[in-house]
């Protein structure tokens, strides 16, 4: 369980670092920070509409990674369900 806390701590640190990358525009950083909630209107979703902003932004890379880690590690899944299995070694 202690490892989970370590990973969450790393996640928060990385979140902070990414927030730092937005410091060029400090006035908007708070407004658009990672965990700030804002009711976004449809015409304000231009950035969200970009392909890079999809949660799976490169399907083939994700597919290949899932297969590699499924073959080499005991933990699987989390992102979705479906897809073919394999007798991986």
């Amino acid at each position: 369980m202690h490892k989970s806390k370590k990973y969450i701590a790393v996640l928060l640190v990385l979140s902070g670092l990414s927030a730092c990358s937005t410091m060029k525009d400090v006035s908007n950083t708070v407004k658009d920070s990672l965990f700030n909630y804002e009711k976004v209107k449809p015409w304000q979703r231009g950035e969200l509409a970009k392909e890079d902003m999809q949660l799976v932004d490169d399907g083939l890379m994700t597919y290949a990674d899932d297969h590699i880690y499924f073959s080499k590690e005991a933990a699987t899944g989390g992102k979705g369900v479906g897809g073919g299995g394999c007798g991986c070694n």
Partner: protein, 415 residues
């Protein structure tokens, strides 16, 4: 106006819960083709060449179809679970040219193998009343010693404001497991002895429930809960486990003798669950941060954490560099043993279940790599990535495995 409509459609698509293979949110284009070549190479172990092709097309204003093709060639050697020191012990034998594992004379712990895999999947997504989407999928994967057939369906519903999307999905898979010579070995039979049993079969059922939310105009997040089980033949028909005896019972550091080698044995049920959170955030200077965390647990007592971090740094001329960092750890399965120790189980005794498969050991893994890409026109995108993966095993005979991944992909949209 059409451009705005497309962007709104894409924004809607970005709220969808995506399957791992999904490129169905590629856009409103009529056709999208994505093809990839991947080379995976472990140091003195396995080499895999993988070709993947995906085709997505709109067949009506509310229906989309996706076809995936995968072809893998795999060869090299992999730890069998047996220990070294048994002289001319031959790991696993198959007929010449039959693929699968082959004799590895003189090597007790590494088994050579070669195989090919062909996978095909077909997905159909239907949108109803703009706020509801349902996806039906099927897949088949064939190897010389493994066949898998799966069905799945996923449902997504947007809130009226389209700020939140609720998703649910279920998948079932039916697998046939066998050695390349056919059949499966009797669990805990002495290597080379015992009966050859019929092919193993297993059923896998997975469910997923998720919420995706727009936090602000630059941040999107998702939380999934997944649970499922495998039931049937979950043993690896190629894996072995050795019995050892200490050379000096009063001094364990003096070493041990390998007495015998057996086929492994695993439970026939596995209940798995995970919590998965991910987010995408566009920074003020237009870089995109992707982060995810997964907490996994199962009734084999495997608990795992996975943290993934990518930062896509976008430059002018549609060029990007994307560093990638991944951390992984897992605890060992409750039936994982380095070997069956004679001092614990006696000269002829066995645990209820036992496997020396390195993938069930306690593992720490780290991935470091980068992905670069360039969009050449409004409809073509090239990506190249190189990654290094290192796994550290706590108790396995081979305590480190390192791999290099190279992937070249090109995506083309047609209107």
């Amino acid at each position: 106006m059409k451009s705005i409509q497309k962007k709104l459609a894409l924004a809607t698509c970005s709220l969808l819960a995506h399957n791992a293979q999904s490129v169905m949110a590629a856009g409103a284009e009529d056709w999208a083709v994505d093809a990839s070549f991947l080379h995976y190479e472990e140091e003195e172990r396995i080499t895999v060449n993988k070709m993947i092709g995906t085709l997505v097309t709109n067949i009506s204003e509310s229906d989309k179809v996706k076809v995936d093709l995968v072809f893998d060639t795999m060869s090299g050697s992999t730890p069998s679970g047996a220990l070294e020191g048994a002289g001319s012990f031959t790991t696993i034998t198959t007929p010449s040219g039959a693929g699968g594992f082959s004799a590895s004379s003189g090597s007790t712990a590494l088994a050579e193998f070669s195989d090919t895999r062909l996978g095909v999947s077909l997905d159909w997504e239907h949108t109803k009343k703009r706020l509801y989407r349902i996806n039906y999928g099927s897949s088949i994967s064939v190897e010389k010693d493994y066949t898998s057939f799966g069905l799945n369906t996923n449902y997504a519903q947007d809130s009226s404001s389209r700020i939140v999307t609720y998703t649910a999905g279920v998948a079932v898979a039916f697998d046939d497991v066998r050695r390349s010579t056919g059949g499966t070995p009797e669990p805990f039979a002495l290597y080379g002895g015992g009966e050859t049993l019929e092919n193993g079969t297993r059923v896998t059922l997975d469910t997923i429930f998720g919420v995706t939310r727009v936090f602000n105009r630059r941040t999107l997040g998702q939380l999934n809960f997944s649970t499922g089980f495998n039931e049937g033949y979950l043993t690896d028909p190629y894996k072995l486990i050795s019995r050892t005896q200490l050379l000096d019972i009063s001094d364990p550091s003096a070493g041990f003798d390998e007495k015998d080698t057996y086929y492994e044995s695993r439970p026939s049920v596995r209940q798995r669950s995970s919590l998965y959170g991910s987010m995408a955030h566009s920074t003020r200077n237009d870089n995109v941060l992707h982060m995810s965390y997964r907490y996994y647990w199962d009734d084999w007592d495997i608990v795992s954490n996975t943290l993934d971090f990518r930062l896509k740094i976008r430059y002018e001329n549609d060029f990007f560099i994307e560093p990638h960092l991944r951390f992984y750890d897992q605890t060992a399965a409750n039936f994982y043993y380095f070997a069956i120790e004679q001092e614990v189980f006696g000269p002829n005794g066995f645990p209820e279940y036992g496997s020396a498969d390195y993938r069930l050991d306690e593992i720490d893994g780290t991935t470091l790599g980068f992905n670069i890409g360039k969009t050449f026109s409004a409809h073509g995108k090239l990506r190249v990535r190189v990654e290094h993966i290192r796994w550290q095993y706590k108790n396995s005979l081979f305590d480190v495995n390192e791999a290099l991944v190279f992937q070249l992909s090109y995506k083309k949209l047609f209107e």
